[in-house]
Amino acid sequence: MGKAWTFGENMNTDEIIPGRFNITIDPLELAKNVFCEVKPEYAQTVKPGDVIVGGQNFGCGSSREHAPIAIKGSQAKCIIAPSFARIFFRNCINIGLPILECPEAVAGITEGDEVDVDLASGAIRNLSTGKNFQARPLPDFVIKIADAGGIVNFLKNHDIEELVA
């Protein structure tokens, strides 16, 4: 259970973490400046387990992995959005930051709502309004990566061919 932080459409990687902060790859350092220009209070007050609720095309722009790493470093539990930009989508899966596609939940959650997310089933509950939502299932091979905790961990114990086997 965590607090919802809402963001607008087309939230780009420069807004998630401006390029000038990308001189480090330390998740906790990056997290200090995550969303610093669009929502400066986020980095100051986010708590582990809070949930990011974004608009469509979340994470568009650069391929910089600093963006999902900064969010992961802030200890947010997951990102819910109607859709994700494609490199950002891959990056989140690869680094083990859970993402859920669910336009209905995005429409039904406002900033500050208490939200409970079951990552395994994709069930999203808005405890503040009592409404329940179901996220779209992720493709099988994506679940394989997510279950391993990211692509790096997957490859420690598997060959890449097993992804599509």
Partner: protein
């Protein structure tokens, strides 16, 4: 049988593939740069397995190069030490990665090149599949030589007609970005073709796949033809030499076809703060700018510098406007110098910098102050990209940039220079 992406992927997969399939494909080259290589090295070390094929790894120092601060220098040190220790054959410090990749013949028709940079879509101009990925996947590809792809749906952009004087490929692409929107191509292959594309030289073709990134596309493709093959034959080293098959779409089924007659189009500007906030130049003409930046993987090729030099020759840029020119690569810089373009630009009052990406990503070499507005030849105008979050970026063609440099205000390149009293 299929769209251009289906045709390219089918050849690599060794079977006929269709939209929606998940493929694990061998990649021809794996590109990364100083901004993204450190995280790839981290992923590589964590995986703990050896590099599959050193000859497929290409690393560039271009994003903060030469180092503008100690941290960037440490970053370069770390990368160079890694390249030495792993005995990797390809390390470049010759300018913007995407331009150097093409110049050096790494991008050939039908090849698959992944890059830890969103504008790796640029390679589609050569009839190759190029796409941007995060650093972790680059580390994965170093180890496995492979990458997974979902065969995307295709949006075909069919372009007819010829542009009017003062209107360039950049204007056409900015207009398309406005029509499709910044998520209009998400997960899609965007295939550019038609009689307009067929007659374009390579340096103008490159703009379309390059900016397909801005509409969210997985790739932007132009089928290879004689123009592509001539470039490879005449301009690139041995690895770029054919023979190559001219892969074309065969009875393709497109998700959507966008038809556009470019002959009716005037100069376009993508206005602050989104690439799809596109206006005909007339609507923003006269807007004051404090900086003009001519550079990047989009529009700083020799021919772009030639357009700018022809406009600025014998004139002076506005004294209150910073005008910065960054040739896309060392090779372009050298040719521009040999042919006198650099002298013309310097005499006009431009600051010519070493090749690289620094200004475009707000690292160095052209950072904007709060309240400033820049007109640039870049592909991206996110808030704060070039510096202060209170600055603004407008995107346009090199010709519009050159006219704007003379007046200090956004200026229509169709105007007669004498009338501008510059």
């Amino acid at each position: 049988m299929g769209t251009l992406i289906e045709e390219i992927f089918s050849r690599k997969a060794g079977k006929t593939v269709h939209t929606g399939e998940i493929l694990l494909l061998d990649v021809d080259y794996i590109m990364s740069h100083d901004n993204t290589t450190p995280l790839a090295i981290k992923a590589f070390r964590e995986i703990g397995k050896p590099i599959k094929d050193k000859n497929r790894i290409v690393i560039h120092l271009d994003h903060a190069y030469p180092a503008p601060n100690i941290l960037a220098a440490e970053n370069h040190r770390k990368i160079i030490d890694f390249v030495k220790a792993q005995e990797l054959p390809y390390l470049f410090q010759q300018g913007v990665c995407h331009q150097v990749m093409i110049e050096e013949g790494f991008i050939t028709p039908g090849s698959i090149v992944i890059g830890a940079d969103s504008h790796s879509n640029t390679y589609g101009a050569m009839g190759a599949f190029g796409t941007g990925l995060g650093s972790t996947e680059i580390g994965v590809a170093w180890v496995t030589g492979k990458c997974w792809f979902k065969v995307p749906e295709t949006i075909r952009v069919e372009l007819s007609g010829k542009t009017q004087p003062g209107v360039y490929a950049k204007d056409v692409m900015i207009h398309i970005a406005g029509l499709l929107g910044m998520d209009g191509g998400t997960y899609r292959s965007v295939e550019f073709g038609g009689e307009y594309i067929d007659q374009l030289p390579l340096h103008e073709r490159i703009i379309f796949p390059n900016m397909s990134t801005e509409i969210g596309a997985k790739c932007g493709l132009i089928a290879a033809d004689q123009v592509t093959l001539d470039y490879l034959e005449n301009e690139t080293p041995a690895r770029g030499k054919g023979p190559f098959e001219q892969i074309r779409p065969v009875q393709p089924r497109y998700e959507r076809v966008l038809e556009l007659d470019v002959s009716k189009l005037g100069p376009q500007v993508a206005c602050h703060p989104d690439v799809d906030n596109v206006k005909p130049l007339e609507e923003v003409e006269g807007l004051e700018v404090q900086e003009v930046y001519i550079g990047t993987c989009t529009n700083a090729r020799y021919e772009d510098l030639e357009i700018v030099a022809n406009i600025l020759k014998g004139r002076k840029v506005n004294p209150y406007t910073r005008v910065i020119v960054t040739p896309a690569s060392a090779r372009i810089y050298k040719k521009a110098m040999q042919n006198g373009l650099i002298e013309i630009l310097m005499d006009a009052g431009c600051t010519v910098t070493g090749s690289g990406c620094g200004a475009c990503i707000g690292r160095h070499g052209g950072i904007l102050a709060p309240g400033e507005r820049a007109l640039t030849t870049m592909n991206r105008n996110f808030i704060g990209r070039m510096g202060s979050p209170l600055s603004e970026i407008y995107l346009a063609s090199p010709a519009t940039a050159a006219y704007t440099a003379l007046t200090g205000k956004i200026t229509d390149p169709r105007r007669v220079l004498e009338d501008l009293k510059v």
